[in-house]
Symmetry: C2
Subunit: 339 residues, 2 copies
Amino acid sequence: MITVALDAMGGDHGISVTVPAALWTLEREPALRLILVGQQDSLEAELKRHRAQPNARLTIQHASEVVGMDEPPAQALRGKKDSSMRVAINLVKQGKAQAAVSAGNTGALMATSRFVLKTLPGIDRPAIVTTLPTITGHVHVLDLGANVDCTPEQLLQFAVMGSILVGAVEGKSQPRVGLLNIGEEDIKGNEIVKQTHELLRNAHLNYVGYVEGDEIYTGDLDVIVCDGFVGNVALKTSEGLARMITHFMRQEFKRNLLTRLAALVAMPVLNAFRKRVDPRRYNGATLVGLNGTVIKSHGGADRIAFANAIRVALAEARNNVPERIGRELAAVTVEGATA
Amino acid sequence: MITVALDAMGGDHGISVTVPAALWTLEREPALRLILVGQQDSLEAELKRHRAQPNARLTIQHASEVVGMDEPPAQALRGKKDSSMRVAINLVKQGKAQAAVSAGNTGALMATSRFVLKTLPGIDRPAIVTTLPTITGHVHVLDLGANVDCTPEQLLQFAVMGSILVGAVEGKSQPRVGLLNIGEEDIKGNEIVKQTHELLRNAHLNYVGYVEGDEIYTGDLDVIVCDGFVGNVALKTSEGLARMITHFMRQEFKRNLLTRLAALVAMPVLNAFRKRVDPRRYNGATLVGLNGTVIKSHGGADRIAFANAIRVALAEARNNVPERIGRELAAVTVEGATA
């Protein structure tokens, strides 16, 4: 049995998403226990609305405060010691839960997780890693915004953590690791990337070398490493492009009666296609490098997306990802390459 | 009449693309003159294949060498003084052409352009700018890979150049300028971005502030500024995602007889959609900041794509973009902000 603590108040929609997502996931995952962390009265009322109540696999842990979506991380950390986010992470620290999930503010979640759980030995700063779809499956990309300026040593740590994560959760023995770079400049890339390339070549990883942005989606890689600024831009750019393409497609199919009829005929195909690129299936980013599993859900996640983040937490907790990273970190890196 | 010099030997396909693209564009643009630069015999033979010959609007300028697609820029610059690329740029320098277009190697094109044409006063290094489609029109993004590490002053120069370019070519009086950043980190962005933000706020530009990756495609901006590493990753990531989406769509429509029939019915709509996101329509990136107009075409461009690059050259030459940038640069930047 794996216990996951949910920051039930976090995200744009709070309990109206987190509670039904919890109930939905519990039905499908018999080996899962959930702790809903948040305002007891609201949570009880919301459960009642869904004709549910606390039970052996679903408990409520009261927390009197909520971290605002735009609240500065330092303020949340210092001023809201009884926030649903903080209490959920405390449960992981105390061993009462094996993972925490929050759709709350990323900065506050990162700051609180680092403060409460601490980073693993040999890790300077945690990174944010998520899966993205590819032509043949999916790929893990990190960092996605936790670290805007990275040293080569940090980027090496990201590669090692990503590699262990993929190995642990997917059972792949030699995950293929690529370093995001550009191919346009006279001498490719910047100094940091070039130094990282040397570190990666000497690490005990299945390092395939530099990759360019378009290779994120080809399926030729399991892990792609980049600094948080670049990773965040790549992720957000992809979201924006996907939205534009969807918009254009809808517009073309709505143009006139004939195209509307075509849409009707093509509906099952379009739905199958939509399902395949549904970003909700990829919701749930891991704060990797901590003494414990913390999963960040999109703030705007709906029930299906938040349920997916819970499942990511379950998979990583079940596979003891933080312990494995802690244990294997020293073995996989070249001696002296990381602090 | 505007004269454009074409590096007819450049790109993956050389004259088999550049010559038909030239003929096709001349038919449609009566105020255009083209100079095909490359091996005289090959060019004459290729023209003959298309039942064409040199005339008042289409001349051949012999050049005995060709820069290889993977040739180091320094080697091309020093060793191939009679390359089709170099001779095309020389024609701009000599005033015999108002713009040059090449599908050759980006590094060599940038190095040769800088050496022959020089940068405009006040510009440290040229940038690469291209248009990308948006929900409501298109946007200019720079830099796309010429400058991997940029100072705040350089990023300000990019903003100014992009703004003048959009003003000149599209007649927009107050192009909206955004600075690409991320919203995930405790304190947004890195030091360079923050300092650039301050410079942009004080420049005489219609600066709207920080934007995230997804805002590239919303149509809310005319110019988006970023360093070449980030811009290149955003561009390539978009190309990769678009390819994956196309692949998935094709796969779903080919699944069985029923979906193939649906594809048949939906064909006109799918074609209209495809046309709208056709990357060939956006081929032709400007090397901005030079004493002259140089347009870089995708190496793999086909006839339609290369013809579009010629049209970009025509539009910028017609609107005297380099002269305007040179003239307005001082006026738009805050005194002392640029060297």
